[in-house]
Symmetry: C2
Subunit: 260 residues, 2 copies
Amino acid sequence: MDDNARDIDDERLAAAIADAVRAIPSRWFRKPLAVDAKADRSPVTEADRAIEQIIRARLSEARPEDGVLGEEFGAAMEGRSRVWVVDPIDGTGSFITGSPLFGTLIGLLDGGVPVLGLIDMPLLGERWSARRGAGTTLNGAPCRVSGCGRLADAALGSTSPLKFEGAAEAAFRQVAAAARITRFGGDCYTYGLLAAGHLDAILEVGLEPYDYLPLVPVIEEAGGVITDWRGAPLGFASDGRVLAAATEALHAEIMEMLET
Amino acid sequence: MDDNARDIDDERLAAAIADAVRAIPSRWFRKPLAVDAKADRSPVTEADRAIEQIIRARLSEARPEDGVLGEEFGAAMEGRSRVWVVDPIDGTGSFITGSPLFGTLIGLLDGGVPVLGLIDMPLLGERWSARRGAGTTLNGAPCRVSGCGRLADAALGSTSPLKFEGAAEAAFRQVAAAARITRFGGDCYTYGLLAAGHLDAILEVGLEPYDYLPLVPVIEEAGGVITDWRGAPLGFASDGRVLAAATEALHAEIMEMLET
């Protein structure tokens, strides 16, 4: 199989797996959990685990030679050049407060480089999918970032301003004050909206590799830019600070403000 | 017609009007607007106006003796004891950034007291409806606030932290730091989630009468408390600062922190 055929096959596999788990969150969403003595159980943890178990089982059956990194069950990736990255429920805060803005993330890295990314919003019925060189689709139709090149014209997204501290908070406030509009909440959905041209930039801190790695192809294949706050490509060892933008110009303008 | 029969009739009218306008936002949502020299046109303004015009026409036909206050076309309420309050698209920021968390609000005040409230989320297919003494429903099924009585256990919602300034910002930060979790975004949807027991408290500033008056019956009839920051009932002349909570105890705990 050549690289392209393999990529297409991987994207189909990710879609089939996302289909298989799409109905699972509804079992726990907005429903009280049966009382249990163990304090660490929560509806979202139950849903997280149920989804990740199925995804891991499907991957280990279809791609036994690949590694996997997931939120709930850790990493099995030593010595593997291809590693799948899974966040069963991204947007835990939305899930536990009854908002449908949570999603399932499936990504694939090859030699440390994100080559495939999928964001599935089970309750909204929206899915972004991207593979290297093939563009990003929203529910099967190609989508693209906006052409916004200036922060003064930009709609900025960030999940929560309360996550920023110290110098990062000061920098975020400066960027938000200069943006046309700033929107909070949304987690992975925010990146889908950027890839579809509805938001123009995203600034975040405190993300984990399973949060941000599946998003990279979704943004890049839609024509956008996504890096850490210093402009370096995102990888397993990034520090969890993410800057995404519709254009190089907008990315550069914001990055300059982060350095001051 | 006695009071109760009149109330039922009013609630049915509000539902019929919400049905009539539900498909309108999709005409403009996520769609670029045809270029126009007038800079003040925007997709959300177009949708806002189209919706409010239909609502006003239906109200003036069915309730010619009542007053109306709307976001786009102002007030026609002098000397009227019954006044309908309309926000055609609450959550403008969501609408213009491609997020489905916007809603249509229809409320009715009688002698200055909110007696009927409806929140319709057209893209999410969710509707909260409440009339005095009859409880709150979500898509026709009765719903109720949580029993949360302590801020340390509470999920707090607020549309944007950037709206707070000075002492209000300090107070908000203190409340958010003491809450179990704080969620941003959502506008009117946040109040629906509180009425259905998924959020426990909401703290906001800068709301307009057409934003907050339709929400009052939705919260109160679900068993919650909603006032201004000093604990006074919300009316046309309130200052736009809103505190809503699932219980009297939680409301009192937060209000005490707002005074410091």
